[in-house]
Amino acid sequence: MATHTASLFSIATGSSDPIYRQLIEQVRRFIAAAVLKPGDILPSVRDVALVLAVNPMTVSKAYNMLETEGLLSRARGVGMLVAERRSAIKHDREHLMRPILERAGAEARQLELDPAAVMTLFAKILEEYK
């Protein structure tokens, strides 16, 4: 069980992703990559707000949504903890790829490419990065 500091997070302004979305995405990734493990304590809303210089309401919003999703749980007097996992991590990792692949899919449709050609290209890219 580890306690994490607010420097865990980073945000980018000038993005079309609102800051609370960026925070949610980072927590999801950290959990999927086991940087955040079940029982780990997240930095407080106030600390995150101060370190990132963002509105505390934005940080609370991200934490609350992650709690609703079941990724975080609130412990009285302690703060936000990473919840115990119910599903396999592998599933989460695949889930994280989905938005990027969806965008690639939309792009392929716009370019009116043949699905088989796209799959071949993707297989080739995966090969190149091995």
């Binding site: 302004t13 000038g14 101060l50």
Partner: protein, 291 residues
């Protein structure tokens, strides 16, 4: 519904023949942190001045805590902090003399906060005793912010508060907003062109354009819903959106629409091969909305 902190209706203001405010309606609820956006010359300063009753409007009214802005009682006045764009601070005084002078005018004055800010924001040494007229633009602006925060206002109005601050000064200011202001549930209205700062702290944005508030929304919702849809005139002619902000045609016959879409609408549009559907950053949005 919570009582409104500011209630502006039908505000008009012209300077000579130039119409600046042309019927502004604007309501602000307590605890909101609102960024006021608009092009140079859109009338943001004029609006903020009329809001506070510092400038007489030609028509319409601004109520602050239910009182007419041009005739505020002392106790409402004591709840307001204001940082003007051009600081009209008393140039013959020193920062320490200025703060002593204002301290006497307010029933509430947070001496510990003032002393802390003076130390942290560079007035601890010599600068505290230098004539204000001889301070740099950034120093004057920092002093103006300290003065506005000194009495723990419940409503803070800032007109381009960070325009002459460097990145470190801007970050210091944001920290103070996050730590000492927003945490106390203060209502904050600020105009700025520094969108990266606005994104960090503002929960709502309001656009002043053509003398009116043309768009006001929670920033998160706006970023998530605003899309630019481009395609040929033929492809877009039949498309109508409930929340269409703007539609324009370029010389080549292409059409570009700015609209707020629901998640389902955006997915459905993306599936079509002939359209380009993009989300926008706040900067893109500013450019699109104020065109």
């Amino acid at each position: 519904m919570k009582p409104l902190i500011v209630e502006i209706s039908g505000l008009h203001k012209a300077f000579g023949k130039q119409q600046v405010l042309q019927g502004v309606d604007w309501s602000i609820e307590p605890g909101k942190v609102i960024g006021l956006l608009g092009r140079n010359g859109a009338g943001k300063s004029t609006l903020l001045e009329c809001l506070l009753g510092l400038r007489e409007a030609d028509a319409g009214a601004s109520l602050v805590y239910g009182e007419v802005a041009t005739a505020l009682s002392d106790h409402v006045r004591a709840d307001i902090g204001y940082v003007p764009q051009q600081s009209e601070l008393f140039s013959w005084l020193t920062p320490l003399q200025l703060l002593d002078y204002f301290k006497a005018l307010y029933p509430r004055w947070n001496t510990a906060k003032v002393d802390g800010l003076m130390q942290r924001w560079g007035f601890g040494g010599e600068a505290g005793n230098k004539q204000i007229g001889k301070l740099s633009g950034g120093e004057k602006q920092r002093l103006s912010i300290i003065r506005a925060l000194a009495h723990d206002p419940k409503l803070l109005v800032l007109d381009e508060p960070v325009a002459s601050l460097d990145p470190v000064g801007r970050r210091d200011f944001l920290h103070e907003l996050v730590d000492g202001v927003i945490e106390r549930d203060t209502t904050v209205i600020f105009s700025t062109h520094i969108l990266s700062d606005l994104e960090r702290v503002a929960l709502d944005v309001a656009f002043l354009q053509g003398g009116r508030i043309t768009l006001q929304a929670p920033l998160d919702e706006l970023l998530e819903s605003a899309h630019r849809i481009t395609g040929t005139g033929a492809a877009l002619a039949g498309l109508k959106f409930v929340d269409e902000i703007r539609r324009q045609q370029d010389a080549g016959g292409g059409v570009s629409i700015l609209a707020r879409l629901s998640g389902a609408e955006a997915v459905a549009l993306r599936a079509g091969p002939e359209l380009r559907v993009e989300t926008l950053s706040l900067e893109d949005l500013f450019v699109e909305v104020t065109k």
